[in-house]
Structures are given as C-alpha cells and as structure tokens.
C-alpha cells in the first residue's frame, strides 16, 4: 500500500512536469498566435508603466459602467 502511494506520487510528479511543459509552451504559442492574428498586442501593455499619470488615457479603458464605484468625491 505504501509503495503504491509513493508510485502514485511519483507518477503525479512526472505527469505534472509534462503538463507544465505543455502548458507553458502552449502559452508561448498562444501569445505569439494572438499577436499574429491581431487579437491582442501584448507589448502595448508595457506602456502602462511609461504613461501612468492619473489623467492619461488608459491602454485599455475600463468603461465607467464597469467601474464598481460611483464618482462621489469631486
């Protein structure tokens, strides 16, 4: 029984490693694909840090309707 558990954990480990590799490289492919297809440009998010005044235009605007607070303090 104990050996079973150890084996099981061992297999879980190997499975996890493979799973991690697949997920990670799938993610790489996903990132490049979305950029190629024009779904999303990841590199533009880098600009969030550069242009970060409170008044500057968001890279992706969150519509006011989605904002969870009411503009109360003017």
């Amino acid at each position: 029984m104990e050996m079973d558990l150890r084996n099981l954990q061992g297999y879980a480990n190997i499975f996890m490693t493979i799973f991690l590799v697949v997920m990670l490289y799938w993610y790489i492919i996903h990132l490049y694909r979305s950029e190629k297809k024009g779904v999303r440009d990841y590199e533009k998010y880098g600009n969030i840090a550069l242009d970060d005044s409170v008044t500057s235009t968001p890279v992706e605007d969150k519509p006011a309707s989605q904002r969870e607070y009411k503009e109360e303090n003017k």
Partner: protein
C-alpha cells in the same frame, strides 16, 4: 481563449494563481502526512521537564546554530552517531532540525555528553572547547523554567494529537499540582550531578532553573 479570459478577469486570475501554487503542497505534502508522522515503536514522549527544556532551547533559539538532523553520510554518523529516522521526531512539535551548523549537531548529544559537561559548557563554552564562539548562557542558571507551560503543552498534545501521555495528564490545575512533584524530582536528579550553588538552591526551593530543564532535554536527545 482560455488564456484571454484569464488575463482579463482579476478575480479568476487570482483564483488561477491560487490553484497553481497549491498543486505542490497537495501532491507533495498531503499524501505522506499519515506515514511521515508515525512514531518509532518504542518512542516515548518527552517528560514535562524535558519539554520545559525544549522550550528553553526554543526561547534561546539554539537552532540558530545547532541542527538536530544527522544525515546518512559516513562522515556524519562517525561524528554524531546513527543517522536520524523520521519516526524519532514523531512527537516533536515543532521540529527542531535547524538549518545551520555554526555548532555541531545535537540530535544524539545525550549519548556522548553528560550533565556536568553541559553545566560547565553553558557557563563558559570557550573554557571547555578552546576556540568556541558560542556565547555563555549564564542567565539560564538563574532564570526559572516555565514547567507549568510545559505541562500544559503535554496535556494539549495528548488531547489533540493522542501523544501517549499517561492518564494523570489532565487539563485541570489540580492534575498539574499533583504532577509537579514528579517534575521537581526529575530536576533534582539532574541538579545532583551539578555543582552550581544557585541551581542547587533553587531546586531545593522547588524551582527549576532553565539550565536544569535544558540539560534534561539535551540528555534525552539520543
């Protein structure tokens, strides 16, 4: 699609992080819990005096410099004795393996050091081991160990984790008052092998100096 969805929702994103980082604990730690916690067949839980000594060990944080983990290398078993076994630690809460050996390992110190050696050494380490950088712990000769807390600890682990303490270990103050003379007798047995006057006087007055409890603990490490 899955990734897009994830990247857009802070809530699910947070959930994803949590799931990802809990994998390791779930696969590694949880399944072995019962097995790794199993005590050796003849393992006895520590006496109240030894527990009080363990608490002194923790209070003065001996594990800053001393390990209690003999690794299975010939060089270590030659120096410290048999390699450590999981079952030996089953009643240790917390584990005190340590992570740094500024001083030597102590897991089997009880096998090759004695009460009077510890007494001399705790008083002035470099006098016993020339070149030692260990500080003296003279305050342990006058500070009084908290044996009541140690008793409370024994009762707690008995009730919560079924650590095999005897039926006389109860949560009541009366039970503690009944057990106290036993602790003092253990302390006296240690103090009889010591020379320090303050220690002998305190023990005679029904108090247990920290160093006595600590030595009882160190002697129990075998």
């Amino acid at each position: 699609m899955f990734f897009h969805w994830l990247e857009k929702n802070p809530f699910f994103f947070a959930a994803a992080i949590s799931i990802v980082i809990s994998f390791a604990g779930l696969i590694e730690i949880v399944p072995n819990f019962a097995k790794s916690g199993k005590p050796l067949v003849d393992l006895k839980p520590r006496t109240v005096l030894e527990l009080a000594g363990k608490n002194v060990y923790m209070k003065d944080n001996c594990m800053s410099c001393h390990s209690q983990m003999i690794r299975p290398f010939k060089s270590e078993t030659d120096r410290y004795g048999d390699y450590s076994l999981s079952g030996e630690y089953a009643y240790d809460r917390p584990f005190l393996w340590g992570s740094k050996r500024t001083g030597p390992d102590l897991h089997r110190i009880g096998n090759y050091r004695s009460t009077d050696w510890h007494e001399n050494h705790m008083w002035d380490p470099p006098a016993i081991v020339p070149g030692s950088i260990m500080p003296a712990y003279k305050h342990q000769f006058t500070n009084i160990a908290d044996i009541e807390t140690a008793y409370a600890e024994a009762v707690t682990v008995k009730n919560a984790f079924h650590t095999p303490y005897g039926p006389e270990f109860k949560t009541t103050r009366a039970a503690w008052d009944a057990h106290r003379p036993k602790v003092l007798a253990d302390a006296k047995a240690i103090a009889d092998n010591m020379k320090n006057k303050d220690v002998k006087e305190a023990v005679a007055n029904g108090e247990v100096p920290e160093v006595v409890a600590l030595i009882a603990y160190l002697n129990s490490l075998k």
